[in-house]
Amino acid sequence: MSKVIEARGLTKVYPPSTKAVDGVSFTVDEGEIFGFLGPNGAGKTTTIKMLTTLASISEGSCEVAGYDVKTKQGEVRMCIGLVPQDAATDGDLTGMENLILSAKLYKVPDAIASRRANELLDLVGLKDSANRLARTYSGGMKKRLELITGLIHEPRILFLDEPTLGLDIQTRVAMWDYINGINRDSKVTIFLTTHYLEEADSLCRRVAIIDHGQIKALDSPSTLKASLGGDLLEIQLPEGPDISAKLSLMEGVCEVRRRGNVYSLRTANIEKSLQAISVGLWKLGLKMEDARLVRPSLDQVFLNVTGRSIRDSMVDSGDVVVARARAESARN
């Protein structure tokens, strides 16, 4: 499969010495949805800015659509579409005018532009609102309009910076369907950033986990989850002394983490270990107050590679509430 993005040691230093991105290397295959997953401030947007010619590259090199980003900016710009994190459309123009303006900036011939604009508006269910000013659109409609303005010139690679930031859960899930559909039908390669684990999980063929400007892990969501090596059993015990050491000696238990009186036990095979654990606890005179099996998730992968939960690293963000609600509803 041909590579449409090849980044080698990409580094961005903002003066005087802030390293926003620190030696990032990865490749993106033609036609895939590739995700950068990480908390706010991890360097995701800065990476997108370097890939899309908005920010200069301090160190390293990068080819996008076969062109060197440092020297062939004009060529790169012709091949890419960007949907930035914040307003990518003009509220004082109608949906249709936004699309046509975007098409003209990319020198799409008028006839093709208007046919494509109609198709795209239809695709995301905005046909009836095409002639309304974009500022009257709901949050979800705006995001859909932004998504299709990035596609009007049929780019080879579409960059989506936090495509569902600030949307409610139903709208977010609908956006995933649109993004998946676009990738499937038009074969456009999609590079997206997100701090929503579920988003990376449900959209991306491959995910790079980025933290403090560095890639901590890169693979398909399922391989990443498999790399955790087994299942996780969370048990709640009565208040008492730390028994982590005793738990870790039980049969089949590979690793123990403790938060208060809740213990997370990583086991190679939960069916085999469960009995040993319950017998072991019975011998200690302890009774499980609660127990549940946690299926491997990208959240655990994130915890595993960075040492902290992605939600804990975003306590300042208002989105954390949405992310948590979503994660909880998915778990229950």
Binding site: Y14, T53, L82, D92, L105, T149
Partner: protein, 278 residues
């Protein structure tokens, strides 16, 4: 070139779709002319006495360049002030686009960086011409208002708009350099509102330079607004120029042309620098 046109059309559309802006831009010049024209009218300050009419005419003749009344003198200054004010706000959409994030969308498009600033420049010049034309018509309709000199013709009208355009190009680039750097609209508003009136008062727009104290006259004489106001005044009051008037207008035009050219060169360099990669 086509992208410059598209972005200019976008800016004009936004202007038309913003009723408050459109209303303000139509009413403001009219208010200026009516209020300044009546409140500052120096000839009305002369008390009535036998022969006072003759004194008024004499003052108008000697100090106000032969204008038949104050509004005729003032109209030229107000036209200049109008286009300078528009020039100050021309970069506003750029600041807004930057703070909303739309600018990134433009910067990743395969368009030249100058298209972004040029489009705003052209739309501001167009707005300035439309509003100046309205102001001229209103000045003509006012009681005791603008009176064109006998020789005033189409070429003179063209000269009026040429002077206004050169003046506005200069100020447009000066303020564009600021707009590409400003991260907040407030920065632009603060500087614009601080400089606007002083620029007007330190020029021959409202009153003749001859009536000013030396230090102020020195400033007014180099102020491009004075040059444009003087040109327009000559054309309006006297029309079809010849002799000394012609050479004075020609040298003022050269001054304005140099002002516009220098600001354009500086402006293109500085604003492209302001739009380059992070």
């Amino acid at each position: 070139m086509s992208e410059t046109k598209e972005l200019m059309v976008r800016d004009l559309k936004k202007w038309f779709r913003s009723p408050a802006w459109l209303f303000a831009s139509l009413v403001q010049p009219i208010l200026w002319l009516v209020l300044f024209g009546n409140a500052f009218n120096p000839t009305s300050m002369i008390p009535s006495f036998p022969g006072s009419e003759g004194v008024k005419t004499q003052i108008l003749q000697s100090t106000f360049g032969g204008a038949p009344n104050y509004i005729t003198f003032l109209a030229a200054g107000m036209l200049c002030f109008l286009v300078v004010t528009w020039a100050m706000w021309a970069g506003g959409p750029l600041v807004t686009d930057r703070s909303l994030g739309y600018l990134n969308k433009l910067l990743v498009a395969p368009i030249s960086r100058t298209a972004i600033t040029f489009s705003l420049l052209l739309s501001s010049i167009l707005k300035g011409i439309v509003l100046s034309a309205i102001l001229l018509v209103v000045a003509l309709l006012l009681p005791g208002g603008l009176v064109f000199g006998g020789g005033f013709g189409a070429m003179d009208l063209l000269g009026v708009f040429a002077a206004l355009t050169l003046l506005s190009v200069g100020f447009l680039w000066l303020f564009m350099m600021l707009s590409v750097r400003a991260r907040r609209f407030e920065t632009l508003a603060a500087i614009g509102s601080t400089l606007g009136l002083p620029l007007l008062f330190a020029s021959s727009a409202l009153l003749p330079v001859a009536s000013m104290p030396g230090w102020l006259a020195a400033v007014a004489q180099v102020n491009p607004i004075s040059k444009a106001a003087d040109i327009i005044r000559y054309l309006i009051i006297q029309g079809s120029l010849g002799g000394a008037a012609l050479s004075s207008v020609a040298s003022d035009f050269a001054y304005l042309g140099a002002f516009a050219a220098i600001c354009t060169i500086l402006g293109i360099i500085m604003s492209n620098r302001g739009l380059r990669m992070e």
